[in-house]
Symmetry: C2
Subunit: 221 residues, 2 copies
């Protein structure tokens, strides 16, 4: 489709890796990245119900039979794209205070979903999890790992004496972004910086009051 216009400037050699995706793994890693990029584009354009192995083959330059052999099908392709998304080097904000870090975390959620083009792939992953158990497992693993990185924010706050030692870090970092995700994907309401700040302020107050302390409640999840 878009490929009709591509030969003019030659930027759509489908088998070539996108900038920044060349990995030490060489050809296999490049293929995986090309397939991942095609999956992201397909999800953004058509959503999970419209994504096909044919689309990924066409847009990655990787043959359909190879895709079926190595990824099994659409579910496996989506799960692998999510696994790859989790292999980045993102680390949580480190502003020097718990208040600053929580605020920055919440604002990052806003920023990630503020632009429709940027939001398309993560939104499609969340949507795919409703329709595919394998996508749901991959999404669970992605967020578990992502939020466990975020827990550093709470560990540093404890070290600085800003939070009780037994603060449930996982619950804190989830609570900060939860009101934003609720509005994005359940209540379908607008979000923004003011809401991000309000959420950070509320969670900070709760942490200071010991409401996330293990003694107060320990859900484990």
């Amino acid at each position: 489709m878009e490929q009709a216009a591509a030969p003019e400037h030659g930027t759509e050699q489908t088998a070539a890796p996108a900038p920044g995706t060349r990995r030490p793994g060489g050809r296999t890693a490049r293929t995986r990245a090309a397939v991942r990029d095609a999956v992201l584009t397909g999800l953004a354009e058509h959503g999970y119900p419209g994504l096909t192995v044919e689309y990924v083959a066409e847009h990655s330059g990787v043959h359909k039979t190879t895709l079926y052999r190595r990824w099994g099908g659409v579910e496996g392709l989506v799960a692998d794209a999510l696994d790859l998304a989790g292999e980045d080097t993102w680390s949580p904000p480190d502003t020097g205070s718990l208040e600053g870090d929580l605020r920055a975390l919440a604002r990052e959620v806003c920023d990630a979903f503020a632009d429709a083009a940027d939001a398309a792939a993560p939104t499609a992953f969340i949507a795919a999890a409703f329709q595919s158990d394998r996508a749901a497992d991959a999404l669970r693993a992605f967020y578990a790992e992502r939020f466990s990185r975020c827990e550093a924010v709470v560990a540093r706050a404890v070290a600085r004496g800003e939070a009780p030692a037994d603060t449930d870090a996982g619950a804190v970092v989830r609570a900060v972004s939860a009101p934003l995700f609720l509005r994005l994907f359940v209540t379908r309401e607008p979000i923004g910086t003011a809401l991000a700040d309000q959420s950070a302020t509320a969670v900070l107050a709760a942490v200071r009051a010991g409401a996330f302390s293990a003694e107060e409640s320990a859900p484990g999840a």
Copy 2:
């Protein structure tokens, strides 16, 4: 499909209204309820991508051409089922304290999604909103109205002197359930009573600290 077994006990006369759905509107209201029931069953069984007008016709006893004429198609059917879901008489808990009410609210979310059969329809509505703007609009309206009923919890707390007069009631009632919805539909993690209680405890502490006061932050959404 299940209809094969139904004639034995005669409980599946598809055009008859389910108990409790008979309305003053008479025949039209009964038809609407029968169609709604068929939509809920279809969403629970097949999800939004698998729901068809044919399925709804077969399970409601309402002719396909009537469904197209009055509801336009699958999107309209789903939106109307959500509109009907919002016409119930549910009211938020009134336990006598803000702590009790917030805890009860959070636990209601747990209960609503604890049983797979009960959870199927609301989950399908949330999933449908990813694929249909009309379903998203209906979902937004449903939750806006539902959370506005919940605000009574905060109004009563203000009247009892348990919360600052300028508390952002809409933000409070959303913040209580947000960590549960986040785990249900984004991070795909288990939820339970302990998590509900932790969320209520945290939001209560934030309310008491004035973190939801208009002066502190006023996102409006």
